[in-house]
Each structure stands twice: as structure tokens, then as C-alpha cells.
Symmetry: C2
Subunit: 600 residues, 2 copies
């Protein structure tokens, strides 16, 4: 682009859709970006006004204001991207340490003949020994495909082998994970199984890069929206757990097909998988019982890492492919939390760090003084749009950003579609803006004067409400509004999250001021407006610069574990060293909770 | 029984049916037995006449002659038992060295509670560590059943664990094979999968004794009588191999049900299996391809021992049960041959020993001077009754014993039923008796004078024949006879076997005279009359005392491997040290074969 082009336009030309509620006028502050190489025009007054001081200091700019002055490389935070581009599969890429459990070995096998009557396996073992791998375990399922692939490779009998390093026991051993025709690339499958969504990735196992990614809904939703209702389903249906497992595995197989087609690979090339999920998703996928997760004391069946044949659960990878599942910490702090901590790539374990992933249950970890605490708090489904009058999931048409400028209410919907409801980040913004403008008090009661505000007695009759979009501007033919009860739902949710954070801090005998880094992971955590979250008291007000939104870190952690035994070992260390804090029986929790309900 | 009772009568009273073609007159010599403790009346003149000198010297007696003089313990060779008692599942019992891969550990697990939120697995591991097993691999399938069994064991939470010693790699590791309620007995399943018959055993894994046994036909027979036709079936049907595998596994599951019912055990108590069979049966069971076994150079896919989850092939044992399959030596010397060698319990490997198992293919091993040679010879199905005019399998009504006394032909049929045909041991006796009486010459041509002998020109028209049973005495309404062509089939078969033996001897640069022990295993090998086999030249004439009929040694070997890691290691050593001799390309073979066709 010519010098002088603003980055919002440059991005549009490059097909990168930045969020710009205000249409590029520099007033919504949504299109934040940061140069990582080269430079831009100096910050405008608008930027200096709109951006927080620490964001400015950190080099953040508004794309609509900053102009190109030469070659420049730009970092775009996920929050600045419009939803179609904010694949739920996002997150930091490329693992730090490449220490792969699987590696390829190309070799040539002697042909069978009347002068060489050894079995196919014996001739392969001989070739392995000549290539300095004399002791290799070869599993039946891999042996079963050897004769065909060997004969296809005639007359030169060149093969590509995939060797697995087994570090589960004290002494590392090696096994043959796959037999492939010569010159075949190998991939691993990483999946973050959310209660709602699936994020799947194919990782090139020879260099650790992500080759393809895809997302889908978790099909188990048709058996229950949340974990509790799915456990209830398995308890009330004899083959319920099997049904849930199969529906998930079928979806994963379809996603895998899609990914393979995209990069023109075949299933025999997918030689390992790492699957992460919360404890219930983990157990359902792995065929472990979940009944005990649904009743006190809510214990997991399994906490250690699992490594088992993909074919055991019907996942269609290569014949000998295994599935690695990192450990679970507790019944409600699962393998996905550990994957998130790995994906977050904690630089310095002695730094005081909070890392959390907001969902119906919000899992929180605190690292301080080389110790680690974690807990899960029941934050409820409000941020997923449930129990909210006009709430909806973060889908096209959902109001995801909102600003109040005097009498004007500016909204931004996902995919710029006419509004059909409001999603988590939208309701968070709404409440923060209402509070900023004094339209709700610290108890959450709507008050004051605004054309969109309708105050009504709350006993009986319709509730007080604030209209976000009037009927003539929505796709549903009626007003989209936030009510006193909606605000209350968010109060309960944000109080739960804040209390979780405070309880861990009190376990560590520190305060929020001691936090060096506050990491917010996951889809909602990535798209929420941090200022709004701080303003309503969900997160402590410790300075924006300490916060980092890290995207789908669980997916990123899953990918890292595909290509790094060190990261798997780290996952296993985390599970052994963590201090799990059960909030239900924690004496500090209830007092802190009551204190967290009010808005600052 | 009173002093003076003969042992034939004593045996009948005890429900033990000894063979006695002559009805106890001391002339058929079939009812051989031997006292192992106590003594009997002195040998009669009849016995001295009827028994071979070396049998007499070895302490053998005729049950119809020997009388009880006091308490006595009797050994009954399988050949002396009538067929209904000669279960194909017989063989030497109780393994010599009890060195079990699996052992039980009884322990108590902490209950889950609000004060103990660890996973079921963690609490189990803690109990294991307290019982001095801190490092145990636990497989997903075992973890999947843990929560239910644990909660069934409330309130004391006592469990019986089954621990497996894994010696496949350099360093022994341990894994959890099964979780059972307290005080549950554990068993292993051993199966000899023959091309025709299945022999299955349940072995008490705590003491190595055989708890139950059962036999059945191999259901794959409906897809082809022999190995070659089954391979052809898999080549011509896309899912043919899977079909054959399933039909076999279904039968094994039914046999297992039967065995479990007999001893009032459940499938979760069957925690390991050892399955042996020829290379084709091995591959079909294990889901390995067999196409390459059906075409030159006839190589096996797999030669090393296999250890894999029983559930992978649909065998319904305990959740974590594995199947052990000993190694194959070559395409036509399979795991069953190694099992047979183990079952034979070779006492002294420096002794010169021949061990063989006669079937459509006869596998032969020679041990000499601490070396081991083996080969397979195509002896054909004649001894199974195929390609023989009135041939049949060893089933009720088959003539299994025959003696010619002057003009009289004495026959004994299986189950004493009216004759319907002749089985392998019967035709062997017939030819030996015809030769003994000069009714066939050394080329196999019928000649001389006998009321049952009909000599006809062999070119065109009906062939010469010897009538074993006339139409009025058979169940099929016509004569049962042996023809010149039948004799020729047996000539081909016996020549193949003898040539196999001689080829191995020539490889070892020794002669038959050097053989110390000649072991004959398998169903036909057990029921054949050794004198007949020597008389027709199938076996070398080196003295009856060197021969031993060892029953279903393959089944016995399979049972031994269930309870002995040493025997598994021995099996694996055999496969590594054996010199496999391919007869098809052996220069000595064809010359020896021509020389072996004639009768001595």
C-alpha cells in the first residue's frame, strides 16, 4: 500500500477484517494493533485519548489512525479481529520446545524370496537393526498393515517408518508407530473438546507447525447443554455414555476428514493425537464412567495422563496411532486447564501469575513463589448467553460490543448482521457502560435518565430494562434489552470468578496487587473487553498492562504436547504439584463471594 | 475292588473305558497300562507274548491280564482309552515351572470423600504404593471399570488386583491387568487353534492347574477344509479375513462361556489368554494378512511373539486382558509347533530328539548337539480321512483299530458304533497288517490270498481292494474297503513324513540310530499305533522304547505359557535359534522322498 494508507484500510485490502464499530473514526477504540517490526506514523491525539496509557506505552495503536510510513510487521490481538476471522481454533502457534515423541526413519527392507524366507517382520527388524534401532516394539496393528505396504513398495522396498519414544516408564523404549510408503509426510491431531465447541488442528510432526485447523459444535449438545445434564443423560440411559462417546468421535472423524482433505493427506498419515477437555469431556471421550462426577464429592475416575490406541475409541487415525490425554487435576479442573497452562507458555514460574478460562465453570490457576493453586468456580452459563433475556451464543447477529456515547448506543454485531440478541462480551460491555454512565448503582439496580432506559417497579409487572437495539433495527422484530434480572445473573457470574481469584490469593497469602501477570484464555476470555471486565469487578483493577488475552491456549497446549515430550512431562508435573482448592468447603469462599457481588 | 480283579474290569467299574478289541482275551494288545505306585500280579504268558520286550521292560502291562494285589496307582496312555474319553484336549498337565506373568494383590483403597477429593485412580495408586508397588502402569480399559468395582466394594473398599509383569523390554515393568472384587479367583484361557479342531482350557493362574477343558470344531471349516482353501477364501472375498477371524472368535467366546459355566466363573475373572495355532490360524486370529502365506516364497507376516489386548480381536475376557501368541518359525511351521515343543518338556536339550505333529502339514523338529532344526512337510489330508475311498475323520463309527488274525479281520470303531468309514489310525493299522501278512508288496500293490481281498486289473475297471467290514456289518449298507489308490495316498503321506525326518537328520549329519527320543504329538499322533507306523516305514525302526506319544502337547504348551514367563522366554529363544529347513529347495529332499515311498 502507498505510504500514508491507514492500517484499517491496508488490513481490509489484505482481507483482514478488523473490528471498527465507529467505522474508522477513532472513537470506538476497537481496532487496536501493534507494530512488531518497522514503524508507523506517530500516534494521533485521538489515539492518545482513546488508548489507555499502558497500552500506548506498550506500543498499541488504533489501525484507523496509524499510517504506513514504510515496511512494517503488525501484530493483531484476537480482540481486534471480527468474529468470522476469530476462529475458535486460534491461539499462540508453534511450540517453543520441539522434542517430538515421534520421528521418521527412512529405510530399505530386503525383499522376500526363496533365499530369504524370513517373515516380513524379521526382514523389517533386520533393516531397523542396520539403522541402529535394534530394539523396537512393534504392535500387532502395525504389523497387520506391513505386508501390504511392503509389497506396494516393490521393487526397491523403501519405507518410511514412524518411531515412537515411550517415556511412560523409567527407561525409555521405542516402538514402531506407523509404516508408510517412502516420502510420506506425518501429522498429529490436536483437539480441544469443549462442552460447546470442538477445535481441531493438524500439526506437521516434522517441524511442529500447524498445517490446518477447523472448528465445529460439540454434537453432545443435543444430549444436554452442559456437563451436568450430560452426566444425567448417561445415568438415565443404559448406553448413554457410549452414545455420547460415539457422537463426539463421529464429529472428530468428520473434522479430521475435513482437515485431511484441506492438506491432501490421508488418515494413515495421522499418527498420533492429543485430546484435551474438561474432566467430563475427557472421561466421556476416553470411555470412563462419569456418574461419580455428578455426585458429591465429585471425584474424577482418572487423574493421570492417558495414552491409548486411537482405534479403541473409534478415532480413525493410522493403524497404530495413540491418543495422549494430559492429566486431570480434579472433577472440575480438567485436562483442558493443564493444556491451557501449557499453551500459555508461562515464562517464569516464580512470577506471580493468574491464568483462567471462563466458562460455565471457570478454572483458575495461581502460580506464586513456585507454588501452584487451582480451583473451579461455578460461574454459570450467563456469559454463554443462557439465563439472559435476549442472550445468545457468540454467533452471527449477536451484539458483541457496545458503547454508550451520551444518548447514543453504539452496537457491533458479529458478522455485522442485524442484531438478534446479545452474547457474553456484549452484555459485559453493556453492564460496564451502564455502570460507567451511572445508569446502574453498585447493587446492580437500574437508575438515572437515558432515552433507552425504562424504569419500572420490580415487584410484579415487567422489570426495569435498558434497550440496546430498538425493534426497528433488530432482526427479531422487537427490542433487544438488558433487564435487572440479566444484570443480576452477570453479578452472580462475575462474583464467582472474582471470588475464585481472591480465594486462591488468600490461600497464597497475597493480594491482587502481587499479581505480575493475569492471563485470560478461551473464546469468551479472548473476545471480552478487559476494561469492561475490570470495571464491573470481575477482574481486579491491577493495571491493564498485567493482563494478556491468550486465545485458545488449551488448543495451543494440545498442539505443543503433540510435538514435545517435555511439555507432556510438564503437564504431568503440574498435576502432581498443584494444590487443588475446593471452594465448596473453603471457609473463606462464602464471605468473599458476598463481598464480590457489588459493582465497584 | 477285591484282590484278583483284573484292571480292565476295575477300570470299567471306575467308569474308565479302556480299548479292548478282543474283549479282554489278551490278544489285541490295546489295553496297555503301567503301574506308577504299588504293584500288580506278575506278567502272564499272554502279556509276555503280546507286549514288545521294551514295553514289558518299561513296566507296561495289559489291563485285561494284570490283577490287583493291593493298592496301586495306574498310568493309562491315551492310546489305551476309547475315543469318547480321549478328549482332544488331553496332554501332559501342570506346568513344570510356575513363573506366572500375572499375580494377585489384595488391598484396601481409601474411600472418596470431601476430605479426599483425589481421583479413584489416585487413591488406588496410593494403596498400591503402600503395598510396595509404587510404579504400575494402568491401562485405560482397566481404569474404566475401576469406579464401579470400587463403589461395589463399599464400605470396606477391599479389592483384588491382578498385576502383570511385563518382560517384553529390557527392564521389567508392572501393569495393572485387572481389578476384581475381593476374594475372586483368576484364570487364564489357553487355546490350541487347529485347522480342524479347537482345544480350550481354563487354567487356575494361582497354582497352574487346569480347571476346565473343552473342545469344538474350528468353524472356519465351512470356508475351506484346509489352510490353502482358507487363504484362497480371503483372497477372493474383500472381508474374507475378517469373516474367518470373527467366526473363530465367536466359537472361542462360546467355548469360553461353556468353560466358565462349568466352573462357575465370570469373564472378568479370565485375565489372560495364550492362543497357539499354525501360522495361518495364528495370522487369521490375530488379524494379520495371509495372502503372502499362499504364494511363493510363503513367508509369514509376523514371526515374533505377540501380546495384544483380547478385546482388539473381540475375545471376551476381562477388560484389560491380553492375548499372548508365541512366535512362528516360518510360513508352515507355526506357533503351535513351538507350543508343542514346550508342551513336550524336552528334558535335556543335548539329547538327540525328534518331535513331530502329524497333520495336513507335518511339522518336525530335531534337537541334536544343542542345535535345533525344523521343517514342514506336505503330508496331505489322508490321515484325516480325505482322499481315501471310505475315509472319514476320527468320529463315532470310524474304524480306528484293525487286526488281521488269519482269515478274520478284527475292527474297533470309535464309540463302538457300527462302522461308517475308516479314520487315520485305522488305515495305518490296515496297511501295516496287510504288509505284515504279505497282502501288499513293498510297492504297495495288493497281492496274495485272503477272503477279504479282491484283486483286479488296475488299468481301467474297478481297483483292487481289501474289505475291512462287509456291507451287512456296516452302518452305510455297503462294504468298507481299502483300495490300491488309498494305499498309494498313505504311501505319499508316510514318505513325506519320513523324508522330513531324514532330511533333518542329514542336515545334522546323523542317522536315525542317533535318535534318543522320538516324540509324537497331536490327536492322530496320539491315537496311531506306533508299531503300525514303524512297520509301514513312516517312522524309523529304532526301537519302540525311544518313542513317546505325548498327546496334545501344543495345548499343554499353551497352558504352560499362561503361567510361566520362563516358558515364554523359551518359546522366543526357540524361534531365534531354530534352523528352518525349506524342503522345497533342499537338494537332499527329492532323492530321499523317492526312496521313502516303498514299504519296508
Amino acid at each position: 500500500v502507498p505510504v500514508g494508507t491507514n492500517l484499517l484500510d491496508a488490513a481490509r485490502q489484505a482481507g483482514v477484517e478488523l473490528v471498527a464499530i465507529c467505522g474508522g473514526e477513532g472513537i470506538c477504540g476497537e481496532c487496536m494493533i501493534r507494530p512488531t517490526a518497522g514503524s508507523l506514523s506517530a500516534p494521533t491525539l485521538t489515539e492518545k485519548a482513546e488508548l489507555a496509557a499502558n497500552d500506548l506505552a506498550a506500543g498499541f495503536r488504533l489501525a484507523c489512525q496509524a499510517q504506513v510510513v514504510g515496511d512494517v510487521r503488525i501484530e493483531i490481538p484476537p480482540t481486534s479481529l471480527t468474529t468470522p476471522q476469530r476462529l475458535q481454533t486460534e491461539g499462540q502457534d508453534a511450540p517453543d520446545d520441539f522434542d517430538p515423541p515421534l520421528f521418521v526413519l527412512d529405510l530399505q527392507v530386503d525383499p522376500p524370496g526363496l533365499d530369504d524366507l524370513r517373515s516380513d517382520e524379521s526382514r523389517l527388524r533386520s533393516a531397523l537393526a542396520k539403522n541402529r534401532h535394534p530394539r523396537i516394539t512393534i504392535e500387532r496393528k502395525v504389523l497387520a498393515i506391513l505386508p501390504a505396504i511392503l509389497r506396494q513398495s516393490a521393487p526397491d522396498y523403501r519405507l518410511r517408518l514412524v518411531i515412537r519414544r515411550n517415556t511412560e516408564t523409567e527407561h525409555e523404549t521405542k516402538s514402531l508407530a506407523a509404516v508408510l510408503p517412502a516420502n510420506t509426510k506425518i501429522y498429529g491431531l490436536a483437539v480441544d473438546v469443549g462442552t460447546t465447541k470442538l477445535a481441531a488442528y493438524l500439526v506437521d510432526l516434522e517441524n511442529g507447525t500447524t498445517a490446518a485447523r477447523a472448528g465445529a459444535m460439540n454434537p453432545q449438545i443435543s444430549y444436554g447443554e452442559d456437563v451436568i445434564s450430560r452426566i444425567a443423560y448417561t445415568n438415565s440411559h443404559p448406553d448413554g455414555a457410549k452414545t455420547l462417546q460415539n457422537s463426539l468421535v463421529n464429529s472428530l472423524n468428520n473434522l479430521l476428514d475435513e482437515l485431511c482433505t484441506e492438506i491432501d493427506a490421508g488418515q494413515p498419515q495421522i499418527v498420533e493425537a492429543v485430546i484435551v477437555g474438561n474432566t467430563c469431556m475427557h472421561h466421556l471421550f476416553a470411555g470412563l464412567p462419569v456418574a461419580q462426577l455428578g455426585t458429591a464429592p465429585y471425584v474424577a475416575a482418572v487423574s493421570d495422563a492417558l495414552l491409548f490406541p486411537a482405534s479403541d475409541v473409534g478415532l480413525k487415525l493410522s493403524a497404530g496411532a495413540l491418543v495422549y490425554m494430559p492429566p486431570n487435576i480434579a472433577g472440575y479442573v480438567g485436562a483442558d486447564h493443564i493444556a491451557m497452562l501449557i499453551g500459555a507458555r508461562l515464562k517464569n514460574p516464580s512470577q506471580t501469575t493468574i491464568a483462567l478460562d471462563i466458562g460455565t465453570n471457570t478454572e483458575i490457576s495461581l502460580f506464586h513463589n513456585n507454588l501452584h493453586w487451582s480451583c473451579s468456580c461455578a460461574s454459570g452459563p450467563a456469559f454463554e448467553g443462557a439465563h439472559i433475556t435476549d442472550g445468545m451464543r457468540a454467533a452471527a447477529g449477536a451484539i458483541e460490543r457496545l458503547q454508550i456515547h451520551g444518548t447514543e448506543v453504539q452496537i457491533k454485531t458479529i458478522s455485522e448482521q442485524p442484531a438478534t440478541g446479545i452474547c457474553g462480551s456484549g452484555i459485559l460491555d453493556t453492564i460496564a457502560e451502564l455502570r460507567r454512565h451511572g445508569l446502574i448503582d453498585h447493587r446492580g439496580v437500574l437508575k438515572g435518565q437515558h432515552p433507552n432506559l425504562f424504569l419500572q417497579k420490580e415487584k410484579g409487572g415487567p422489570h426495569s430494562a435498558f434497550i440496546l437495539a430498538s425493534a426497528d433495527k433488530t432482526a427479531i422484530g422487537r427490542d433487544i434489552k438488558v433487564t435487572r434480572l440479566d444484570i443480576n445473573e452477570i453479578q452472580l457470574a462475575k462474583a464467582a470468578i472474582r471470588t475464585g481469584v481472591e480465594t486462591l490469593l488468600s490461600e497464597a497469602k497475597i493480594t491482587a496487587e502481587d499479581i505480575d501477570t493475569f492471563l485470560v484464555a478461551g473464546a469468551f476470555g479472548t473476545y471480552l473487553d478487559l476494561d469492561s471486565a475490570i470495571r464491573i469487578g470481575m477482574f481486579p483493577d491491577i493495571g491493564r498492562e498485567k493482563y494478556e488475552q491468550i486465545g485458545n491456549a488449551a488448543g495451543s497446549g494440545a498442539r505443543a504436547m503433540l510435538v514435545s515430550l517435555k511439555q507432556r512431562q510438564f503437564a504431568e508435573q503440574i498435576s502432581l504439584s498443584v494444590n487443588y482448592v475446593e471452594l465448596a468447603t473453603n471457609p473463606a469462599f462464602h464471605k468473599l463471594y458476598i463481598g464480590s457481588l457489588a459493582f465497584p
